[in-house]
Symmetry: C2
Subunit: 289 residues, 2 copies
């Protein structure tokens, strides 16, 4: 098959960086460096300038960035315009872009959302499949990668995702089965699928079970670092025998620990340093360690 | 309590219109009247002009409109800017606005989305609670009404929502329990809650069960008309003994059958006529009929 699938582009980007690390772009006005806030009257422009600096600082150190749509949408159309520019800039810098928008709707509305992600220029999007597995297909049909919400790291997610179904599995396990089924016909030459899953790092107890249910899925793993996920948690999610970042079956995200590293000096340099450390940490999880 | 809750504003709007009917703003470029398409080069402006006409045509006939965010987001920041103007215009015309955005994220991201809905100016938003019931709270805390996805009308939703849990209920029933719990402390003077639920009209078999589980919830009911929902389906969802539109516990949405009524003549008049018929139909469901 000559088509260049999302999953193959992702594998190349991870192998190019030598790490499955991903930096989350979750800008919060109150936490921006003083010099950035002072330079911009409009909040949307301030977070845009900050994120452009972050992209330039992390390019080459990681292969993937994950903008959080909510951080931009809170500033309305002005924020969305900034997000569009940032996605373009990230792709120009050779980064794969996973839009963390957690979209989910039925029928033609799902097609509209897929068109919105394409318009934005992102490579992939996070998707909520509570409305049924077929509601994920329009994104895949549009050539996008998807990461379907399966198991998240917030404590309260247990009240839905950990509930047991008659017959033995959990709601998360049922969702995992749907994701695997969706992904079966969308395998890249790397052997992994365009249909991935969001699996939180702080739920490693479920990790082995979910890896068993989804052998061909890349797991987008949020919550590393500031949110409590550790290298051991991630290790439980990595595919057995994976010899490279691209084959590891994980994309491990950190946001706050990279964006707001603290300490003095030039903020771009501090972020570049934090991104480098994070990238090495995560590379160690899949490598000989 | 002196605070004017969403749910009380909604009840007044429904009683003012004398019907629990809601018109969905789901504009699709290909279906716009020829005269509207011919008058605008940019798609986002064409759908904006059309929806402004729809709002003017339906105001006074219904009390609520429900813009579908995806239809606007597919045109990027330009589409979102149009949506912002339309929400403002609808509220100026006295309409309550439910933003159909199906948002759902954790922690601070949920707060950002709530801020985005406030920025947009909408009164309420549809929310996906797969990530846990507490992820709905930021919207309520921001003073917004919510309609949590419980049971949708697309056939494929069964593969998630109709799955049986150990202990007897279904995934949808479990979600209904969470919604009732969320709504308990957020009751308006009308006796209903700021926390409502999305319950599809084409799943009336579940209707009585879900009404029993959520006595204080308003059900946002999509799928009336073009999508196959009928008056009988809606009847199963109405609160027992409801004597008025505001107390009925339902908001019944139609989109395509009102927006694209077919036939010749002036499109604004045709839409006004279709909205009037739909409003009377639905009023008949709760009235003496």
């Amino acid at each position: 098959m000559s088509q260049d699938r999302f999953i193959d582009r992702l594998a190349r980007a991870l192998d190019g960086a030598g790490t499955p690390a991903c930096v989350g772009l979750d800008p919060v006005l109150e936490r921006l460096p003083e010099s950035v806030r002072a330079g911009h009257w409009e909040p949307a422009r301030a977070i845009g300038a900050f994120c452009k600096g972050v992209i330039d600082a992390v390019a080459g150190r990681v292969g993937v960035v994950k903008p959080q749509a909510a951080c931009f949408e809170r500033y309305g159309s002005a924020g969305v315009a900034v997000l569009e520019h940032l996605v373009e800039h990230a792709r120009e810098r050779g980064l794969v872009v996973i839009l963390d928008a957690k979209r989910g709707d039925i029928g033609v509305s799902a097609e509209h959302y897929a068109a919105a992600v394409r318009h934005m220029g992102a490579d992939a999007v996070t998707v909520n499949a509570y409305l049924g597995p077929s509601t994920v297909e329009p994104y895949l049909d549009a050539g996008l990668g998807v990461f379907v919400l399966v198991r998240t790291s917030n404590p309260d997610s247990d009240a839905v995702q950990a509930r047991e179904l008659a017959g033995g599995t959990t709601v998360a396990g049922m969702m995992a089965g749907h994701v695997r089924e969706l992904g079966r016909t969308r395998l890249g030459s790397c052997g992994l699928s365009d249909a991935g899953a969001v699996v939180g790092a702080t739920k490693a107890s479920d990790g082995a079970m979910l890896r068993g249910l989804m052998p061909e899925q890349v797991f987008l793993v949020p919550g590393y670092g500031a949110q409590g996920g550790t290298a051991d948690d991630v290790r439980a999610l990595v595919r057995e025998g994976a010899g490279s970042a691209g084959a590891s079956g994980v994309v491990v995200n950190a946001s706050r620990s990279v964006l707001y590293p603290g300490g003095g000096g030039d903020w771009c340099e501090a972020i570049a340093r934090a991104a480098g450390e994070f990238a090495r940490d995560v590379a160690g999880v899949i490598g000989p360690g």
